[in-house]
């Protein structure tokens, strides 16, 4: 295994993560159906639809919800190509791999056979695989739409209305904010170590280097948290978290909320 591979893949992973952030902010600023709704309605509505996906028992209902997701994407200036590349293909491959054996392993009525009768394919197996893939695809599409069309800070503040304690929200916000700092720091450390090593590193050395980089990152993280604590105290923080609410529901927000919940309800009822 080449010395570069592991480091490169980690750094590449980091860079991808950062790239996603930037793209998400851009889409959140476009004009579209989802973007026009209050973030709380977006959150609650899309969560409700994900719940409907999981509650439905019929493939047809799940597929209808998928179509609804595609419609929402189109109305919200989200490119279908983007969704296909970033979400649908990936899910298809991974969930497909997991679901494939189910076609053969699920007990039930036999409909076909593979490898000359040695591997029977059952109707139940086909349905199960299809249902699983459809569910995962649809659910991930909804959550992706939520994240693409909502800035992270709005997602956080909207969570307030889901009875999540403010301390948890603050911690989520801070973790997110410092994750990118740590990713940056880790990338830089990798880059600098890579430029300092010559030739191929034996795997044991590579492992040690990883552990050491992780260790330095950990020490820096803890030191950072100490400093952040002082900075928070310096501005008056004493343990009580206050979050400034900035959302105002308008008429169409209520309509949107009703539409989401209604659609979800119908889907659950139809799919029971």
């Amino acid at each position: 295994m080449k010395r570069g591979n592991f480091i490169e893949s980690s750094v590449a992973g980091f860079v991808r993560a950062l790239g996603r952030v930037l793209m998400s902010e851009e889409i959140a600023n476009r004009r579209g159906l989802l973007q026009a709704l209050d973030p709380r309605v977006r959150l609650m509505g899309l969560f409700a639809l994900v719940l409907a996906v999981v509650l439905a028992h019929r493939l047809t209902v799940v597929l209808t919800l998928f179509l609804a997701a595609v419609m929402l994407a189109l109305c919200s200036s989200v490119s279908i190509l983007l969704l296909a590349k970033r979400v649908w293909l990936v899910v298809l491959v991974f969930t497909g791999m997991i679901a494939l054996p189910a076609i053969f392993l699920t007990p039930g009525t036999r409909v076909a056979a593979f490898a000359g009768g040695a591997l029977p394919i059952t109707a139940q197996g086909l349905s199960a695989a299809a249902l699983l893939i459809a569910r995962v695809e649809t659910a991930v599409t909804f959550t992706t739409l939520l994240v693409l069309c909502t800035s992270w800070t709005h997602v956080l503040k909207a969570l307030r209305w889901f009875c999540i304690p403010p301390e948890a929200i603050t911690m989520l916000a801070m973790t997110h904010r410092y994750a990118f700092l740590l990713i940056d720091t880790a990338s830089q450390m990798f880059e600098s170590r890579r430029s300092r090593t010559v030739g191929h590193l034996p795997r044991a050395a590579l492992r040690r280097m990883t552990a050491r980089t992780a260790g330095v990152l950990l020490s820096k993280s803890i030191a950072l948290s100490d400093e952040v604590y002082l900075a928070m105290q310096s501005r008056g923080f004493r343990g009580e978290v206050h979050i400034l609410s900035e959302f105002h529901m308008k008429a169409w927000d209520y309509v949107g909320l009703l539409a989401f919940l209604g659609a979800g309800g119908i889907a659950v009822w139809a799919g029971r």
Binding site: M1, V54, A99, L132, A139, T143, V147, T175, A211, I222
Partner: protein
């Protein structure tokens, strides 16, 4: 091991959310009594660190790579309560922001990795490293073993969650509605990947980090060393009191109580049959209607049926005699048992610590 939406039924998700909330609540209360204001930035930054660790693809002995979670080092540095929150936060961000893991299954993922993982990691680390000095090699080994155990414990719980899906949640035609693999397939399938790659990755990173900290920053290992008070127990903090322990026990008890309710909510489509319905001709119709071959009782079902009718008296409702319910219940009791064991160890260690010095 991040379970996406669609693999677990709504009732399973709800049950595990309840378990997760119990764990979060317990961890929160415990931390609140030490120093909540200090805890907010510490947990956040540690969660960010865990987030980055989960992105590393670690080179492993044997030429492969694997992903670690970071739950073990979190438990070693922060203690179990802090680790539960830190890992949960990292998982929440991965689910919300990167689609890594579902939203309906966030409770399950947190339960498996953050709660079960932290408790198993902490308990094993403390047990194996007991008494050894902070700088000793035994702690490195303890971290490695604790990491391996924690990841595999999480995997076992996840496998159980998968395995009971087809048992409990099928439609009228017999199609599994969620994860389609029975225990016989799910358990080995999950465990193979974790007994080898993920478990090893976690062991490697935990051991590596402890070794690093022993040299670079041993103070961070003090909190869970059992010898001296760490940041958790500074003069401003209050140690774990009996009241806190009772609360955690309550949370575990609640969890064990709630799990059967999850089954009640599931619906009685499949698995409601007793072994008799497989063989006695008159009673076979519900079984055949579900498209399942009759004639002989599935061996596992027979064994379990006997197991579970034994402790329950004859007047227990029919559904309690079904193999599926028994399976589910035993799985959850197993988990509850694991948690109880971890808490017992913790409590014992805390009491021992308490007798050594006063504050």
């Amino acid at each position: 091991m991040h379970i996406p939406d669609g693999y677990l039924s709504p009732s399973t998700c709800a049950t595990l959310y309840a378990g997760a909330v119990a764990g979060w609540y317990g961890a929160f209360r415990r931390l609140k009594r030490t120093l909540l204001s200090r805890v907010v930035p510490l947990i956040s930054v540690f969660a960010a660190f865990a987030f980055v660790v989960m992105m590393f693809n670690l080179p492993l002995p044997g030429g492969t790579t694997g992903h670690a979670i970071g739950v073990t080092i979190a438990a070693i540095v922060l203690g179990p309560a802090g680790a539960i929150l830190a890992i949960s936060i990292a998982l929440a961000i991965q689910a919300l922001f990167f689609g890594d893991g579902g939203i309906t299954t966030l409770g399950a993922n947190c339960f498996n990795m953050a709660i079960v993982g932290s408790l198993v990691a902490y308990a094993s680390y403390r047990l194996i490293a007991a008494g050894a000095s902070v700088a000793s090699r035994r702690r490195i080994a303890a971290a490695a073993i604790a990491g391996y155990l924690a990841v595999n414990a999480s995997a076992v719980v996840a496998a159980i969650e998968f395995g009971i899906q087809p048992l409990l949640f099928r439609d009228a035609g017999g199609t599994p509605l969620y994860a389609p693999y029975s225990m016989r397939v799910a358990l080995p399938a999950m465990m193979i990947g974790h007994l080898t790659f993920a478990g090893l990755a976690e062991a490697v990173i935990s051991a590596g980090l402890v070794a690093y900290l022993q040299v670079a920053d041993p103070a961070l290992l003090q909190a869970t060393s059992g010898s001296r008070p760490g940041w958790e127990e500074s003069s401003e903090a209050v140690r774990v009191t009996a009241k806190g322990q009772r609360r955690l026990w309550l949370a575990v008890g609640l969890l064990m109580l709630l799990t059967p309710l999850g089954v009640l909510a599931a619906g009685k489509a499949w698995g409601e049959w007793s072994p008799a319905e497989f063989v006695v001709a008159e009673a076979q119709s519900p079984v055949t209607a579900a498209g399942v071959p009759v004639g002989t009782v599935p061996a596992g079902m027979q064994r379990l049926a006997n197991l579970w009718t034994a402790p329950f008296p004859a007047y227990a409702p029919t559904f309690m005699k079904s193999a599926a319910f028994g399976y589910f219940l035993s799985a959850m009791f197993g988990v509850g048992l694991l948690l109880s064991l971890s808490l017992l160890v913790q409590g014992y260690l805390a009491r021992r610590r308490g007798t050594r010095y006063s504050t």
